[in-house]
Symmetry: C2
Subunit: 522 residues, 2 copies
């Protein structure tokens, strides 16, 4: 159906154009000919400023050709309608639909895929009832979310981002690491009688999560409390955890939503609904749904997710940069990059195409980053003057969350934040010539700025869905399966071998090195 | 004095050997011929297992030749003795000594550089007195550390790592970001009357820090409290902040210690001393000092910092991998990688040698990472099966901190953590052949494991100093100045221009895009 990647005419054109990319360091390169005003993409209430990327009108035209030639919009629409995309043709694979967008397709009477959207509504109704019950009891102040990977990073990132909107007196703690010190630190600072424990595992068999669940249950029992009155399950229907005798309530997640795309399913909704209440949770879901809809726009210049995806491919495949820094100028987003690390790298860190052949080009980049302005005082030295070129995506907001700000040196802190985002993008792009070689900046380091009005539930939903769609569009472009994660299996198998050996040698004096060797020699 | 880098015989040999690096995927590559037992480096109570690197005896011999040919140990010794190393020959530069190691060279009567070590002792004595006073008053439970970059990341990383050892009832909060929401979130959850505010800025002029200081002071005044009874300064002697009318006490930092190397100076000691008490603070300093001493060992095989440095150069320059993942299997170290991002990337993200000529080879890599096992459920997919190869440094401990653990499926959580570290290193190295292309693992992905007995103050000091010395050794190898940060200046200048423009257009309706354009056209 869609064309072969590296032999497609648009791909070849892109590589040709990449031999002389737009020079951001040239005289007035940024300010002339309306470049800045023209290179702004508006989508679902967010703006993308991308004049500081090394692209021009020719490159943007080829982006459109590429999107059309490879039927990217069509594939995205098929995804939302429930096509089985999580598979490798001709090989044993998960063979599943990819329907995370259904978990927020709940605002119209004709959702794209009615069955899954119906299931989402049922679970949201159950959640609404449950939260009403809790509110009436007035008993719970704390929720501990026990989960790992997608059952931790996404919900945690969004919770942290929206903490400013929490219901007074409510907090959520996240327990993920099998490191017992993680659990100890959390349990030493909560009142168990006023705490709900939500255990999240689709299969009901995730080792870290079950271990932590046992650890927390043991604490409840020691304290003379009945865990069944405090524990809630989020799991697949029929999993070992779907058991009313052990849990106050069960909420369901379905196999058509992968962990890293599950924030808007019950995986994220329990913690977020508890913290924010149903109205703000619905605003968050509405924002995500708005973005999903906007991501079907066939015009690359007006489809931020698709544009970000193709700018990323340009930087990664055509200009050859191996990483991407995501740099939010908002302390609330301090865990958002960690979520993206999972969502992006687990989706697109692949070497095999959907046909089972070796990927002929580089797939997903390494994604990393920390919030600004903190990062400016840390690793930005390398961004500006290092020998590695790092494309960057800045995220900024015009207004703050808490309405607590201060004028110092005639500007507010929020203005300082914004001035710094703009300044960094310009500095990376234009560079500086200086007689002292140590004060030279090479420039031509590409970046974009995503701008929102304020980091609130609606915009957080949009931002989350924006990146999900970007990642999906990149996977479609590279023709890989962005929805499985076979790469985590070998580590699991080997860890079991080490654990079995530890059981065998329990209490013997074998050193770590000895164990290492013993297991390898087996 | 020392040889030219790329024309040196050891450098050339390294590049030749890199054409056929050790194949970790070969039959019994890891388990045969005593490789694992031989490839363990013991230094200052820590162990480094590096059998899973793509090196053999020939490469290790060239490492030694390289260290000797380029006088690396000699330069490190010169540094500790106070030579002016923070400079670019023939150009205006900072021209400073590099004496962070003096801040812990306080346990012998003959420190390497007596003047700076004497100053460190004086400040520590002042701190001891101050903490005694506070303990007697019994008034303060919380310390807010206001600082950014080196005055935030390092102290925060170590504080988080050692939280398990806090004095009962004491906590430290860190305020860094100029984002006003960061301050709002912290101030909404502390009791100002029981809070000390430590403001950390060497120059006394860091914009973010002064802004946040004003914001917190305003809160004290609103609450009818006298800030001078709560605020403590850590700053350069004679800086605008060195002012007894505004601060309860001043502690000094000196210009021979760069921000990113300042954790063991007063920059870190205020927060850590408050949280842990002087005894544990001294154990932390002692650990760092032990490692500093051990880093003078001329034998690469017995000098972990030097070995790590050269393994890093091998992976980065000879094998061509642009990034380094630091992956602690300890939740306590969840901010340690962020500290290393600064310490490493700000030090070695340079393009100019100490002679002012362009660096002829790649300098510092991109450093990133998150704790395991969390990361295994997130970005490890790309580490195992992605098209980017990511060298990794794992960090693990044999015992946990809180002595709260649970046996589940016959092993403790701490055992699970350790089994996973070992399993990941093996999986990355050996890979797996499989008939299903999607279940293949390429292997030959290099990693090391740093092992300690327990994450306690002593070992934390060792680990911190280990990485500081590694970074310094890499800078010496690349012949760059690891101690300045000219790369942050252009962003500052441009941010001022944007801020000036915002002041000019205050209350006008200019859009962000308009501002962007206005400033660029000026």
């Amino acid at each position: 159906m869609s064309a072969d990647l590296i032999n497609s005419s648009s791909w070849k054109k892109m590589q040709t154009l990449a031999q002389s990319p737009f020079d951001l360091t040239a005289e007035a390169a940024l300010s002339s000919s309306g470049r800045i005003a023209r290179m702004i993409c508006h989508t679902a209430g967010l703006r993308l400023l991308y004049a500081t990327q090394r692209v021009d009108a020719d490159v943007l035209n080829v982006f459109q050709e590429f999107a059309d030639e490879h039927s990217l919009i069509h594939r995205y629409q098929e995804m939302r309608k429930g096509k089985v995309l999580n598979k490798i043709k001709g090989w044993e694979s998960e063979n599943r639909q990819v329907l995370h967008t259904s978990s927020r397709d709940i605002f119209v009477s004709t959702p794209k895929e009615p069955h899954s959207a119906g299931q989402a509504r049922v679970e949201l109704e159950k959640l609404d009832d449950f939260l009403n019950e809790i509110n009436q009891q007035g008993r719970y102040t704390t929720l501990i979310n026990v989960g790992i990977g997608g059952s931790d990073l996404g919900p945690r990132a969004v919770y942290e981002a929206l903490k400013a909107y929490n219901i007074q007196g409510r907090e959520v703690r996240f327990l993920a690491n099998v490191d017992p010190d993680d659990a100890a630190a959390i349990l030493s600072s909560v009142d168990l009688t006023r705490t709900l424990v939500v255990v999240v595992s689709k299969s009901g068999t995730t080792l870290e999560t079950l271990t932590n669940e046992q650890l927390v249950r043991a604490r409840y029992i020691e304290a003379g409390l009945d865990p069944a009155q405090h524990f809630v399950a989020v799991t697949g229907s029929g999993s070992p955890m779907d058991n009313p005798t052990s849990y106050l309530r069960s909420f369901y997640m379905y196999d058509y939503i992968g962990g890293r795309y599950s924030v808007t399913s019950m995986v994220g909704c329990l913690a977020l609904g508890f913290a924010l209440g149903m109205d703000k949770l619905r605003a968050f879901l509405r924002g995500a749904n708005e973005m999903d809809e906007a991501c079907e726009n066939p015009s690359v210049a007006d489809n931020m997710a698709l544009l970000l995806a193709l700018l990323g491919i340009w930087n990664h495949n055509s200009l050859g940069y191996p990483t991407l820094a995501v740099l939010p100028y908002s302390q609330g987003l301090h865990r958002f990059t960690a979520h993206l690390q999972q969502c992006d790298m687990e989706s697109n860190g692949k070497s095999v195409t959907i046909n089972g052949s070796p990927a002929p080009i580089k797939t997903g980049p390494i994604v990393w980053g920390e919030p600004g302005t903190n990062g400016q005082h840390a690793f930005y030295q390398l961004l500006h003057q290092g020998t590695e070129v790092v494309p960057a995506e800045f995220i900024g907001f015009l207004e703050n969350q808490y309405e607590m700000d201060i004028v110092f040196n005639n500007t507010t802190s929020q203005q300082k934040l914004l001035a710094n985002v703009l300044a960094q993008a310009v500095a990376l792009a234009t560079g500086r010539v200086h007689e002292n070689p140590n004060k030279c900046f090479m420039g031509n380091r590409p970046s974009s700025i995503i701008l929102g009005d304020r980091l609130d539930p609606l915009n957080m939903g949009r931002l989350l869905a924006l990146y999900e769609a970007k990642i999906v569009y990149q996977g479609f472009s590279w023709k890989i399966n962005s929805f499985d994660q076979e790469g985590v299996e070998l580590g699991k198998i080997l860890a079991s071998r080490f654990l079995d050996h530890m059981i065998d040698t329990q209490k013997s004096s074998t050193s770590v090195e000895g164990q290492f060797l013993d297991v390898l020699e087996k």
